[in-house]
């Protein structure tokens, strides 16, 4: 049931073509593109482009890795406004395993799309190639991973609605 999302999406033509003309569907670096969906239209954005655009850097403690990490990425709110034009009412981020995070309110500057760890582009093993983190933990318990349920790894699609 969980795999159905990316299997089904794989055979949708824009995705299929994107995959076909990207490096390789079967290569370890998959997925190499981020699918952007807006007003019923899908377009693919190479992950490499995102990596080049990433200019937000900071260090923080990653509760999943259990250590401090130098992060490089893009502020989600600013990036989404630039990518989708008018400020959409809702943003939905979808991972390869069907995990979804929905922003009914516009994400604040604390939310960052991460492309690099310690100066290196992140792959699947580093929960990449694109993951979402929140740099300000507030008063959340770092030992309780449930406090970070809104973090999402291996993002393959971002939908802006309407």
């Amino acid at each position: 049931m969980l795999r159905s999302s990316w299997y089904r999406r794989f055979w949708q033509w824009p995705y299929f073509l994107t995959m076909l003309f990207s490096t390789s569907v079967l290569a370890q670096s998959w997925p190499d593109v981020l699918l952007l969906s807006h007003d019923g239209e899908d377009r693919a954005l190479p992950i490499e482009t995102l990596r080049e655009q990433a200019d937000e850097t900071f260090s923080f403690y990653d509760p999943y890795l259990g250590r401090d990490v130098d992060i490089r990425g893009l502020p989600l709110g600013e990036w989404a406004r630039a990518s989708f034009g008018d400020r959409p009412e809702r943003l939905t981020l979808e991972a390869v395993d069907g995990f979804e995070v929905v922003f009914d309110e516009w994400p604040g500057p604390s939310w960052v799309l991460v492309t690099h760890h310690d100066g290196e582009p992140i792959g699947l093993r580093e929960k990449g190639p694109l993951r979402l983190v929140e740099r300000d933990y507030g008063d959340r318990d770092l030992d309780n991973l449930r406090s970070f349920n809104e973090w999402i790894w291996m993002i393959e699609r971002i939908e802006a609605a309407p």
Partner: protein, 374 residues
């Protein structure tokens, strides 16, 4: 500001309102802030967010095995699934709490690499090889479930403790609110009683204790309250009252004064007010349209007393008690009370000079266009 509120005698009321407001805020805080926090913690049991990362890792191991069993030509897809499984299992908490984790990660890495080799391993080999990984994932899932249960138990205990504290706090604040309200009520009632007492004393200060009518102060207060409508002022003097007292005694004199008050009030009727100015002198203040009308009222007053024929054994002018009445018709806008009083007193003097037992209304000069006559 607090000092000012307290000085306004509403301090207890404000404290009471503050208590009840705090109560409402506490309830809102619980509903809006704490409840969503609980919801956030427990509401994800049925969706993917509620799944353990180890479970999500297991799904990708199953995917890899499925890919090998169903389609032997897709080892790369299986390798991809194992990479995903690795990522979901590579969590520091798992490494720290479950000894099998590093070995399981190493197995996943090994089998992923073997899938990319030629020839790839068979589905049977992979199933056997990945069995320790699945067992480790089961161990993690079970362990995490137990830890979750412990967390829930602790959470429930904390929630109960929190609820007890909250209930206690609400009860205390509610009782404090009631107590402050009670203090406020007591203060309000005391203030009300003090106001009534002040009014009683003020009324007494304006009342003649012997006859019960208003005194000179009351007359002045009444004048101050009057609008600019024309008024009639009558000064009433009992003829030869001192000889009356001397012959019949002061108690009889007092009784005569009280009797006269009744008679004057009966004779004047309407909106007239009677005041005792001191000794045997009274003043009557009444709204009056003209000097002629005032004169008629004045005549009636003298006449009523004559009809009563109250015996006066010491009067040199009559066998009964008689009155001398001097009056003036004036407008408060045109003449001050002192001026009017002086004019009425002059008229009274005139009556006394003529031999008493009579009345006179005078001073047309006090009205700009006097309609009456002396």
């Amino acid at each position: 500001m607090i000092r000012r509120l307290w000085d306004s005698r509403n301090g207890w009321l404000w404290l009471s309102l503050a208590s009840f407001s705090t109560l409402v805020l506490l309830v809102v805080y619980e509903l809006r802030l704490v409840a969503p926090e609980v919801d956030r913690y427990f509401s994800q049991a049925d969706n993917i967010t509620g799944h353990q990362l180890a479970t999500r890792s297991r799904v990708f191991v199953h995917d890899a095995l499925d890919a090998m069993v169903r389609d032997v030509s897709s080892p790369q897809a299986a390798a991809m699934s194992l990479e995903m499984a690795y990522s979901f299992l590579d969590i520091v908490t798992y490494r720290e709490l479950y000894d099998c984790t590093p070995e399981a990660l190493a197995d996943l890495d090994t089998w992923r690499q073997r899938l990319l080799e030629t020839p790839p391993p068979s589905a049977e080999q992979m199933t056997r090889g990945l069995l320790p990984v699945l067992q480790c994932q089961t161990e993690i899932e079970t362990g995490q479930r137990i830890r979750g249960s412990e967390t829930v138990t602790q959470f429930v205990a904390e929630a109960r403790s929190h609820q007890s504290l909250l209930l206690g706090g609400i009860l205390v604040i509610y009782l404090l609110g009631l107590l402050f309200w009670r203090f406020h009520e007591k203060q309000r009632l005391a203030t009300q009683e003090a106001s009534r007492e002040s009014l009683r004393w003020m009324a007494k200060a304006l009342q003649d204790p012997l006859t019960g009518v208003g005194n000179r102060n009351a007359l002045h207060a009444r004048i101050d309250e009057q609008s600019d409508l024309p008024l009639g002022l009558l000064l009433v003097d009992i003829d030869y009252f001192k000889p009356y007292n001397d012959s019949l005694g002061h108690p009889e004199g007092d009784r005569l004064l009280r009797q006269l008050v009744g008679l004057i009030e009966m004779a004047m009727e309407g909106d007239s007010r009677l005041y005792r100015m001191g000794g045997d002198e009274f003043a009557v203040l009444l709204p009056c349209a003209s000097s002629t009308a005032l004169e008629a009222r004045c005549e009636r007053l003298v006449q009523v007393l004559r009809q009563q024929a109250i015996p006066h054994p010491a009067s040199p002018v009559a066998e009964s008690v008689t009155l001398s009445v001097g009056g003036v018709w004036f407008s408060p806008a045109q003449a001050s009370f002192d001026t009017a009083y002086a004019a009425a007193d002059a008229a009274l003097y005139h009556v006394k000079q003529r031999g008493r037992d009579g009345c006179k209304v005078g001073s047309r000069e006090l009205m700009p266009h006097s309609a009456g006559a002396i």
